[in-house]
């Protein structure tokens, strides 16, 4: 009996370690977990990513994950190949198809967090090549520099400690210790719908008793929205309330110009920048004043093509965002799409 128990513990733990330490194991587990309506499945993102972080039961709304439905387009001319460098605001709302975009006959999407090996493939057809650089407000200062964009087109030089010791360290770490092992184990062991009630109870206990919100999440002052903590915390980078100096904005515009110049040298005809405001910038639920990052930037960009959906999103703002997710909903995404299409239509032939 004791031997059997030992064998059982060994097999369970070793199996868990093997699955959590391998990419294929985690892919298999993730796929299995996201089968709907199962107690052994995961409901982490079923109700919105911020619910998945916080487990605050008041925000347990099923999230509509369907893509925005494309409208009928005005232009019959299809003379643009669209290349998008963007984030989840883009890919979680739209299918990567040209049907959404005016004048677009083909589209390629590149995620900011893709590995540098993934490259754009230029189409040989002589169409207008347009690069759309999209990012959510909280990441703009981090992402907007020429080197970051150039890394997408060229093989970046990876600066690593080349000493023998450092190389041995890296090799051993790679072989024996998966870099996200702790997160993987946490996912494998506890990311089950079965445990959601316990997680909700803990979250409620901490909030009601200690006034402590779950790490990474902030409850709106109006209590009806969840935000990413980073976007509300006045001292965090990317916050809607962090002071951003005029000098920093001027530097950002210079960086955008450098990116534009670089892209044109790479063969693009036009570059469009679009920065999506943090939900808290638009919803105005807090008693702190917004740093006006995007509107101030818009005033400085001059001839750069810039799509700023802030004002439009502010119209009936609460209908444009999920309550328990860090993204806009289909309505918000559609507002942005309409603005982008106007911009595409206005580009020279």
């Amino acid at each position: 009996m004791k031997k059997l128990l030992a064998v059982l513990v060994f097999v369970l733990c070793a199996g868990l370690l093997m699955v959590s330490s391998s990419q294929s194991g985690m892919s298999w587990l993730t796929h299995a977990r996201y089968q709907p309506n199962s107690l052994l499945g995961s409901d982490k993102y079923l109700y919105g990513d911020l619910y998945g972080i916080s487990y605050l039961s008041n925000f347990k709304y099923i999230k509509d994950v369907s893509a925005v439905r494309p409208d009928e387009l005005i232009s019959k001319q299809k003379d643009i190949s669209l290349y998008v460098i963007g984030d989840s605001y883009f890919y979680s709302s739209f299918e990567i198809i040209p049907a959404y975009f005016e004048r677009v006959n083909s589209i390629q999407f590149y995620k900011w967090d893709h590995s540098p090996e993934v490259k754009f493939k230029f189409s040989q057809a002589r169409t207008k090549r347009v690069l759309l650089v999209e990012s959510v407000e909280r990441n703009v200062l981090n992402l907007m520099n020429k080197e970051r964009v150039a890394a997408i087109f060229e093989k970046p030089e990876v600066i690593q400690d080349k000493s023998v010791f450092a190389q041995i360290n890296r090799s051993i770490k790679q072989i024996l210790y998966h870099p996200t092992l702790e997160e993987n184990l946490s996912f494998a062991l506890f990311d089950l719908a079965l445990f959601s009630k316990f997680k909700e109870l803990k979250a409620e206990l901490n909030l009601s008793l200690f006034g402590r919100e779950p790490a990474g999440v902030k409850l709106a002052k109006s209590k009806d929205f969840l935000y990413l903590d980073q976007t509300v915390d006045s001292v965090a980078d990317g916050s809607s309330f962090q002071l951003v100096s005029e000098m920093r904005l001027t530097k950002l515009v210079q960086d955008m110009r450098q990116i534009e110049d670089y892209a044109k040298k790479m063969g693009f005809d036009e570059v469009i920048f679009s920065f999506i405001p943090n939900p808290v910038s638009v919803l105005a639920t807090e008693d702190k004043s917004y740093n006006q990052f995007i509107p101030r930037l818009e005033n400085k960009v001059g001839s750069i093509h810039f799509v700023n959906p802030t004002d439009e999103l502010k119209q009936q703002a609460k209908q444009n965002f999920f309550k328990s997710d860090s993204h806009w909903n289909q309505r918000g995404a559609k507002i942005w799409l309409d603005l982008l299409n106007k911009q595409l239509l206005s580009l020279p032939k």
Binding site: F10, C13, A14, I168, K173, L176, L185, S186, R212
Partner: protein, 468 residues
């Protein structure tokens, strides 16, 4: 790999189950491999440093047994120099270089020693002291030299106590690797309960107190006197729960497999004097210093000035053992001074306290006084820079207006205070989960898991003593 991580949970499950499945003769190999894996999870290459000192001490042990007289002393010296040398390079070189620079600067000269950009190997002070303990004991004839290189390596590297102790003695640990440990349900239960007790201390108490402590100590100059006192009070218990929690998990994990490690804490804040505190706090280190440094200097069998000097030296070295920084020296110095004041008062006024108080009041008075002195010294342990120490005491004395927050609401402060007093009562009564009756285990274990889950703070915060 920290004890309060899922990685450790899985690692522990694999190693412990494999340990009981394997034949006795292979178990040491499993433990050695597991210990290497555990250690390499931090910085793999530092295993080489450990290996070098292991080789030196292993051969030193064998030669110490073979030779007598001067040769024997020479081998001991070689071993100690190698161990202290590793410590000096990895832990103290930067400190020494910095102080040489400042000292030379005072005399109008600039001396720049070459800089070594090296990280401190985790747990270096712990396993180095354990290795030195081996060669000293072999030298003294209290321990036979270990001939099996693997077993000796395991003595230095045994994973439960590899990175933060308890610092074992060879007489206690080495022979246990040869003993056949069978599955004993009572012992396994006791070990698991001790691990749970350690986890509660770490994630429920220490890491919760750390929220307030970190918030206040991050900017001591902007907090009120009351806030500073509360943070210092909490820090005393944070460091206790953090370190004794680690020790409990280490001892419990070893106990599950049948190993008996020495106790490292014995209700230190119930101590009635500073010497009493040191008999209860980090016992494996304080006895190490007592056995190998204090007694070697002559202990108290010397003239009074020499005795006082010995005490001060031991405490200052003990401070330096914790970290290569002047604040740790001051911390050790303060404890030395407290000891000397205590001894002096006892010597010249033996009836002083008894004259003014009854037994109960005297007990409370001495406990509060001891705790206050220890907590005062902890301020120097926690604050590294002199500017911070200055700001702390300036604010403590003048209580200048401040409006900084504690990082906790009043409910959480109250809850934390309840935890602290609960722990104090638990210690005072000498309670221990490992002593719980076996029939309660099935009910108690899920209950403790629930306590840890619902009231724990899961930030994967490192154990404070890992840095030493």
């Amino acid at each position: 790999m920290v004890f309060n991580s899922l990685q450790f949970l899985v690692f522990f499950g694999i190693v412990t189950s494999a340990y009981f499945l394997l034949a006795h003769r292979f178990r040491w190999i499993l433990l050695l491999a597991a210990s290497c894996y555990f250690y390499m999870a931090f910085v793999p290459i530092y295993l080489v440093i450990l290996l070098v000192t292991i080789i030196i001490d292993y051969w030193a042990g064998i030669y110490l047994e073979k030779f007598e007289g001067r040769a024997k002393k020479l081998f001991l010296a070689c071993s100690l120099i190698a161990n202290v040398g590793v410590l000096a390079i990895f832990k103290y070189y930067g400190f020494i270089a910095n102080n040489v620079y400042h000292l030379a600067y005072l005399f109008g000269r600039e001396v720049h020693l070459p800089s070594l950009s090296i990280l401190l190997p985790i747990g270096l002070s712990f396993h180095t002291f354990q290795a030195m303990s081996y060669t000293i004991e072999v030298y003294r004839g209290n321990q036979k030299a270990e001939r099996n290189f693997g077993i000796y390596s395991l003595y230095v590297m045994f994973y439960p106590q590899l990175v933060a102790g308890p610092i074992e003695r060879p007489q206690n640990l080495l022979h246990q690797f040869y003993e056949r440990h069978v599955w004993d349900s009572d012992r396994v239960r006791a070990g698991i309960m001790q691990m749970m007790e350690g986890l509660i201390k770490k994630v429920v108490i220490a890491d919760r107190l750390a929220i307030l402590v970190d918030s206040v100590y991050a900017s001591v100059g902007t907090h009120s006197r009351g806030q500073l006192l509360l943070a210092s009070f909490f820090y005393s218990f944070q460091i206790y729960c953090d370190f004794s929690g680690y020790s409990d998990i280490a001892i419990g994990a070893a106990r599950v497999m049948g190993f008996k490690l020495m106790d490292n804490f014995n209700a230190p804040y119930t101590a009635k004097s500073i010497p009493d505190f040191w008999r209860r706090w980090h016992i494996s280190l304080s006895t190490w210093f007592k056995d190998y440094v204090y007694f070697s200097l002559g202990g108290n069998r010397v003239s009074v000035p020499k005795w006082y000097f010995n005490i001060m030296l031991v405490f200052i070295v003990s401070g330096l053992w914790h970290g290569a920084s002047w604040n740790f020296v001051i911390w050790g110095f303060l404890h030395g001074i407290f000891q000397l004041i205590g001894f002096t008062l006892n010597r010249f006024f033996p009836q002083l306290a008894a004259k003014y108080a009854t037994g109960l009041i005297r007990g409370i008075f001495y406990r509060v006084l001891t705790f206050s002195l220890v907590s005062l010294a902890w301020v120097f342990f926690r604050l590294v820079h002199f500017s911070e120490i200055k700001a702390y005491f300036k604010q403590l004395i003048f209580d200048l207006p401040s409006n900084s927050l504690l990082g906790m609401n009043s409910n959480e402060v109250l809850f934390s205070i309840l935890l602290v007093f609960g722990l104090y009562y638990w210690d005072f009564k000498g309670l221990a989960l490992r002593n719980i009756r076996s029939q309660y285990f099935v009910f108690l274990l899920p209950f403790l898991v629930a306590i840890i889950y619902f009231f724990g703070v899961f930030s994967l915060k490192q154990f404070i003593y890992f840095q030493f």
